[in-house]
């Protein structure tokens, strides 16, 4: 069910939400958090859809704040979606026009669920300093996505400079399964320290940067970051230990091969994770992620600068065919 409330106020929206609850039943009860999506018109629908999917795991009130043109008269257009049009949550879409477009926080305050956590998500562009932004200040958790930024590398640097507990980035969420596999690989013999590591991934992949940073920070060893053509995501991780290399390769973005030293190579499905899945993962824990903090603020600086660009992903991931990169 979708209800449009053009040219309205937040008081009217609130009143309508209560009315819906009385008319239709308990659908606005039992929410565990408020998810605020700060997005522009072009990406609004896909973001709301992902949030709806995630709400099946974490029932929440979703408020999408869409800023329109800053010129012209102040106007607030609202749309309420409940039932089949809103996953397991309820969605309030707020379109802000005129000078109001710069004050999204003011329309949010009355609509936040009482006494429950607020999560803010910027699916595309995020403020320079998210925790200092007006909406960021309301939220316990602030989700950004460095992969959507014009320059992911610069974006990560910015996030690192302004990090506050509660910040997190979907580029980090995307490598959780990779990290799990690598951690599990170290739990098997031989129990030897990792002497150095190499992470190959697209030149525009902040996930690959974070992976390298995480390894550098946790393993305290030299880590190189090999760059493959844009768009290929993370393609391989190599951990070098005295008795040989452990390689985790994903040349095609779906199936990976894990080759521990002295053991047969094993194939495993390691598909790129969908947006909704990553978002649901982020909503799972709302406390600060200390490991992300260390990775971002300490690990990134430890990565060795790449020496040369490789022409194709195939070359970067085929063990043996790859030219060993010497740390600069």
């Amino acid at each position: 069910m979708i209800v449009d409330l053009p040219g309205t106020t937040t008081a009217a929206v609130n009143k309508y939400l209560v009315k819906l609850r009385h008319d239709i039943g308990a659908m606005t009860l039992g929410r565990v958090l408020t998810l605020v999506i700060v997005v522009d018109e072009s990406r609004a629908e896909s973001a709301i859809e992902a949030a709806n999917d995630a709400s099946r795991q974490h029932p929440c009130r979703i408020i999408a704040v869409i800023s329109g043109k800053k010129t012209g008269a102040n106007r607030l257009d609202a749309q309420i979606r409940v039932g089949g049009d809103a996953g397991a949550g309820e969605v309030v879409v707020l379109r802000l026009h005129g000078p109001l477009a710069g004050h999204g926080d003011s329309v949010l305050v009355p609509l936040l669920l009482p006494d429950s956590p607020v999560v803010a998500w910027w699916p595309r562009e995020a403020p320079l300093n998210v925790s200092e932004s007006a909406i960021g200040q309301m939220a316990q958790r602030r989700i950004t996505d460095a992969a959507e930024a014009p320059s992911p590398r610069v974006e990560l640097k910015r996030r690192a400079d302004n990090y506050q507990p509660g910040d997190t980035d979907l580029a980090w969420t995307r490598i959780t399964l990779w990290r799990g596999l690598l951690a599990a690989a170290l739990e098997q013999p031989p129990y030897e320290p990792v002497l150095n590591a190499d992470v190959a991934g697209a030149s525009d992949s902040p996930s690959a940067d974070l992976m390298a940073a995480w390894l550098a920070q946790a393993l305290q060893c030299p880590v190189t970051r090999t760059r493959t053509p844009p768009g290929s995501g993370v393609t391989s991780v190599r951990l070098t230990r005295p008795s040989g290399n452990t390689d985790l390769l994903r040349p095609d973005g779906a199936v990976a091969t894990l080759s521990p030293p002295g053991q047969p190579a094993r194939r495993i499905s390691l598909a790129r994770r969908a947006l909704a899945e990553c978002l649901a993962d982020e909503l799972h824990r709302l406390d600060p992620d200390e490991i992300y903090e260390e990775t971002l603020t300490k690990g990134l600086a430890m990565i060795e600068a790449p020496t040369r660009k490789l022409s194709g992903a195939r070359e970067a991931v085929a063990p043996g065919a790859r030219q060993e990169e010497s740390p600069s």
Partner: protein, 513 residues
């Protein structure tokens, strides 16, 4: 810079602070005995695929089927594919399936054939070499308990039950764990003579880990419930597990076992233990087990079993718009069968916390709907400062823990009916956390299988708990054995009339779940 050391106990990539890092099982294989059984095909195989789909299985994971059928690896793969297609909860992806199916093997043979077990040993050795399962193997006995002795002895003889220090062997057995105290002990000594007690995992597929953890969280993470969780405030507790289905094709298993052995002995007494136990000093396995064992050892049956136990057999009737036949008319059931399909039982717990608070347990097949719940019913307020007419409709407050199908918590309390007259009536307030009942929530079986592979035993019952539960139930079974055929109850209702009479004698009534 000096690289961080890596040792068996220290993994620099697994920081306890890193709460989002998934635990992926180490290299291992699972040997499934009883490939053609219902549980294997409806639950175990789909759960394995779902785990693979979620990326939680080790890359080397291999599944070995063992059965009498004259199958090839390919036949076995097809059987698994069918069951995955029909029952997996996550979508079917060809790539995931292809990678998983590469590790499928099948060994044909009977349970008493030494040659077949030698072939099994060779198969596992080959898997260690080809796929790197590193000598870690789970033996999943999805077979009738009568075969446990034969299979475990064969595993012992062929050297499969033992491994060197760097690898592990584990065995999974499913309920029922025996049919009385003596048989449970015998079963335990058979399996225990071959496997160490911390390598034996008893799976009770009714009791998912999620449920147990939810209950522990509700009781011990909150301040508002524990102060009233005792005989000062609680009037009585009702634990219900109702099924709407009949026995289906399980006549061979069910007849002679009955509802009490099938459900009360394991499931309901486990729920009772979790509801009634004191706070464990930690959530480590031994601490949790200690509390459960303590409370189970304090459970006492009333003196008069005739007045405090009830059984019944479903008769034909209408259920959910369908005419269903009675228990005695089911295929494979003798007309003279005395097996009960409904069992209810009152017990007390001799502790300071629960003195005088009866716990009513009931379970049955072909009841009104499928539901499992724990209802903690409170005493009435000692004094009601209203007119008598204002509170006529007010019942007792209750906290209901809904276990399935709609997992969550319901609270029942009095509220004023809107209007000018003062009138208080019962209302309910519900909470259901999304992930516990949506598609994306992990099913109990997946958690169980993953825990076995990770070697994580806390919530699996140990044989001490199993034996304590039998001690409670054995006198009831002995009493029932002298009582002839159980009274019939119409299918689709809430059990025999004498069950209502049992409650009425105590001045109480069953809750409608």
């Amino acid at each position: 810079m000096t690289p961080t050391p890596v040792t068996p106990g220290q993994n620099p990539l697994r920081d306890p602070q890193d709460k989002r890092l998934p635990r992926i099982a180490g290299p291992c294989s699972l040997v499934l005995f009883g490939v053609t059984g219902d549980l294997a095909r409806n639950k175990v195989m789909p759960a394995i695929y779902d785990l693979a789909n979620r990326g939680l299985l080790p890359p080397s994971f291999s599944l070995v089927g063992f059965a009498r059928r004259d199958w090839t690896h390919k036949d076995f793969t097809n059987i698994v594919r069918e069951s995955v297609r029909a029952h997996a909860r996550t979508p079917f992806h060809n790539e995931v399936w292809r990678n998983l199916a590469e590790g499928f093997r099948f060994v044909s043979g009977t349970f008493d054939d030494p040659k077949a077990f030698d072939v099994l040993r060779e198969t596992l050795q080959t898997l260690d070499e080809e796929r790197g399962t590193s000598g870690n193997h789970v033996f999943y006995l999805s077979i009738p308990p009568a075969f446990f002795a034969t299979v475990t002895q064969q595993l012992d003889r062929s050297g499969l039950s033992n491994s060197d220090e760097s690898a592990w062997r584990r065995v999974v057995i499913e309920k029922p764990f025996g049919h009385d105290l003596a048989s449970a002990r015998e079963l335990n000594s058979i399996v225990g003579s071959v496997f160490r007690s911390d390598s034996i995992f008893r799976i009770d597929h009714y009791l998912g880990k999620e449920t147990v953890q939810n209950l522990l969280a509700l009781r011990f993470a909150n301040q508002m419930f524990e102060p009233i969780w005792n005989a000062n405030y609680v009037d009585h507790v009702q634990i219900t597990m109702a099924e709407d289905i009949g026995i289906g094709s399980r006549a061979g298993y069910y007849d002679g076992i009955g509802a009490a052995r099938d459900v009360i002995q394991n499931h309901l007494l486990q729920l009772l233990a979790l509801t009634a136990m004191e706070e464990p000093v930690s959530f480590q396995a031994p601490a949790l087990r200690a509390e459960k064992e303590k409370v189970l050892s304090a459970v006492r049956l009333p003196m008069d079993l005739a007045a405090s136990t009830v059984r019944g057999q479903y008769a034909q009737g209408w259920q959910g718009g369908e005419r269903v036949s009675g228990y005695l008319d089911e295929d494979g059931i003798q007309k003279t069968s005395t097996t009960e399909t409904y069992a209810a039982l009152k017990v007390e717990i001799d502790t300071r916390r629960w003195a005088g608070v009866p716990f009513y347990l009931r379970t049955g097949k072909r009841l009104g709907k499928r539901v499992t719940e724990i209802a903690v019913v409170f005493k009435r307020a000692p004094h009601l400062p209203f007119d008598r007419t204002a509170t006529e409709e007010l019942g007792q407050n209750a906290i209901v823990i809904r276990v399935q199908p709609d997992e969550g918590v319901t609270m029942r309390f009095g509220s004023k009916v809107p209007g000018s007259a003062m009138e208080v009536r019962d209302v309910t307030m519900d909470f259901g956390y999304g992930s516990s009942f949506t598609e994306s929530s992990p099913e109990a079986y997946e958690r169980l299988i993953l825990d076995v592979m990770l070697g994580d035993p806390p919530l699996f019952p140990r044989h001490e708990e199993v034996e304590l539960a039998w001690q409670i139930l054995d006198p009831v079974e002995a009493f029932w054995a002298t009582q002839g055929q159980p009274p019939p109850y119409p299918a689709g209702g809430w059990g025999p009339e004498c069950a209502d009479d049992m409650m009425a004698r105590d001045g109480r009534s069953w809750r409608m779940p």
